[in-house]
Symmetry: C2
Subunit: 516 residues, 2 copies
Amino acid sequence: MKSMVQAVEVSASKPSLSDNTADLDRLKRSVRQATGQENITCPLPDMAGVAGSFRDAGFQGAAVVRDTGNGMEIISFFPGMPQKLPGMALDLGTTHLEACLVDLLSGQEMARVSREHAQGQFGADILTRIHYAERNAGLAQLQRATVSDINAMAADLAGRAGMVSGDLMALGMAGNTAMTHFLLGLSPYHMCREPYIPVANTVDIFRARDLGLEICSSAPIWVAPSVGSYFGGDLLAGIVACDLDLEDQPGMLVDVGTNAEVILGGKDWLLACAGAAGPALEGGVARMGMRAGPGAIDKVSIDPDSKFLDYSTIGGEPALGICGSGLIDLAAQMYLAGMLDTRGKFRPESMKERFVEDEHNPCFVVVQGEQSGHGQPVTVRQSDINALIRSKAAMYAVLSTLLQQVGLSFEDLGRINVAGAFGRHIDPEKAVVLGMLPDLPLNVYHPVGNTSLKGAVRAITDCDFRQRIMDAARRVTYIELNVNQEFMHRFSGARFIPHTDVSLFPSVPRPQEVCR
Amino acid sequence: MKSMVQAVEVSASKPSLSDNTADLDRLKRSVRQATGQENITCPLPDMAGVAGSFRDAGFQGAAVVRDTGNGMEIISFFPGMPQKLPGMALDLGTTHLEACLVDLLSGQEMARVSREHAQGQFGADILTRIHYAERNAGLAQLQRATVSDINAMAADLAGRAGMVSGDLMALGMAGNTAMTHFLLGLSPYHMCREPYIPVANTVDIFRARDLGLEICSSAPIWVAPSVGSYFGGDLLAGIVACDLDLEDQPGMLVDVGTNAEVILGGKDWLLACAGAAGPALEGGVARMGMRAGPGAIDKVSIDPDSKFLDYSTIGGEPALGICGSGLIDLAAQMYLAGMLDTRGKFRPESMKERFVEDEHNPCFVVVQGEQSGHGQPVTVRQSDINALIRSKAAMYAVLSTLLQQVGLSFEDLGRINVAGAFGRHIDPEKAVVLGMLPDLPLNVYHPVGNTSLKGAVRAITDCDFRQRIMDAARRVTYIELNVNQEFMHRFSGARFIPHTDVSLFPSVPRPQEVCR
């Protein structure tokens, strides 16, 4: 492990008339000796502080240095060798930011926080924010919102470790291309207009002060590169974080957040696509939908015979709504209990008192008002299920179309990494019942969590990792599915539970016939 | 000539659905192809501007790049190949700043300006300012004064070339160690306390914005390295500017400004010393003394027989005072006309009506009040001449002591470079008469002007030059003459005109006997 920033222990003789080397040059000489690197530099704004700390410490202690690729840059100095050298990693999501504090010496996670992205006030989705950015000062507002969020998270993380923000010596982050543009103050104007060109896909390492980030002011900031307007650094970081770029046998990374994004490949090639497949799986689209947080229904089971419905919520709290994985569970169980037909339509006759009409919308009552956390029933509308069916159809169609592009079948895959909140909470067995994921042995599926954040952690703790991301960026071929006839054909076939062609899902039981 | 900053002509194909490389990555690709350098970067604050200019120009034009030693950094972009690429060079003097605008493409000087250093308001000399810097906020005030001066000079220079400050793409500067510390906000506290240690002798290249310099904000700023508290970057720049560091035969650089500084050596070794030898040669000490500007008496001749005194002034203006070279001329002529004895004392009997007493001070009237520019007589006191004698004695003693340290004599020297205002205006013949400079063939002496400024120019127009300065810095041995017995002995012997040992000055005529 070679972290982005390292601590180098130094001890120099004190200045004298016969050795009148200047303080900072004396420190540079010591770092030169300790690292074997010839070219040792120090940024102008740090010269006074670094040299002063070195002198105050009696000309010994630890220099905090960064390998610039052309030598070592001294960014801070401690009177003694630090026990920990904290760095921050960030997943720069559209709706949420998730960050953790990592010890750059050991690579260990020290704390983790997440928060809603303050950019949300300017628009819930990317396109709205892109249009907002085109308004006068809009881009600057978006940028400031994120910088404030990051500064607040840095202070929070540092506080949890008994430190202050200024102690954080590096920041690595990964986000989609639009989020990256907003944060860096780059106009997204051409990203959403043919031929959809970002201002920049690669971002050179800069310093915290360049962006007003209130960590150590010369701390290096690494931003994951993007492949294009619709394939961002969060995915690239994810590819490498789950080692897809090293696999001999082709594998997949499936990341369902605001979008569903899928990468297929291994060490030789990488094929990617993305689409707005996921809205039903994130809170907001289903009216009762919510993020996977306390009170969210995340697991549902329905006894096919008695139709008795049981559920659990995150944190065991009274139910407030239903999260993506809960919705998938619910739909799969409803299908198996004969409450949904193969097109995903309600079968009211089997739903009994759980079927109600709400402003002319057919609804399924998951939790009665008297048992919920807010006194209102938690319901799912037919339209929510329709959206889920579209999502799952899109997901399956994406997966199968990608494979078809390279003449592979699902059975050729060694490993399917399922990332994001989706991957963390979902039960692949239920997703297979719905026909969202292919009918493969369950041990093929690996929940890998927030791979964007994991990649950001790896990027600041492992220099080789950053090179792997650059290499992966060059190997990725992005295909546009919205204009792909084959995809549209496969999408139509996948709009059934589990699929028009049930032979593709041999392990999925036929639903219980409705008891009239 | 390889300038610090270069313009690279690029032409890229326009983005399309089949070539959706991002704007900045497209430019980097073009620069990579044009320069053959792999690692092309762009500082965060320039990304939007550079990429935007590239797109607006139709993806062709000229990238302004800096060789970082590890690749190329893009700091600006022009829609077409510029005719000139201006950079600024600065001599950061204690009392005066002198700067010029240089075309980084051709190396040609485009404009030159000078001004009094605004730091003067906080103290005329270095020591006063060092003490001022120790006051609360004193250092910041000194720094701001210089930054404001530099910004004003940059605007002035740019205006003379029909440009604006932001067009300036590089800045190189050289100053003494204290001036460098003040500008960079480094405390001079330990410089004037044994063992006299600066904060830093070497300064890594930084960006204009890091110091609030209002030229192109990512323009690289180069500051000449120092050797120690009493041997600054101005002298190092001077050594290399007059190629002393390349000489096979030992030579000398004599720079008389606020201090007299002398370097002896060549390609193998360099020996340096400095001392407060020069006050009489700069305006301020002699009451009528003034900088070499309009109205300053710069040449004097006295007919030994008639005692008729003739003089010229700079610009031919009515006399206002006398500058260093004028004073040397005057003293030499007075000595040859029998008006000064060998100890430099007035011989009133030969001075006739030009001898007056001013508040009990013996004075020599150079110009009568009715002929001067201000209506007052321009006079020189005995005490001014005494100061001059001390200065010239110190100078000669420095030169001869330095030579003695390495077992050389004046005849071994190939070339003596005389720098500074002193070198530009002085007549070596007169300096030899006084015994200030050794009695050598006059073609040994070469006036080389402001070598600090020349060095700063070379540093931004020639990368090899910067390396030569670093090499020279390592080769310089600085000797402290104030504690040197040999120097004190030689100083005493040199306090006569031309010297106690007249055999050292065979070409100097014996003075005219006084006509009683």
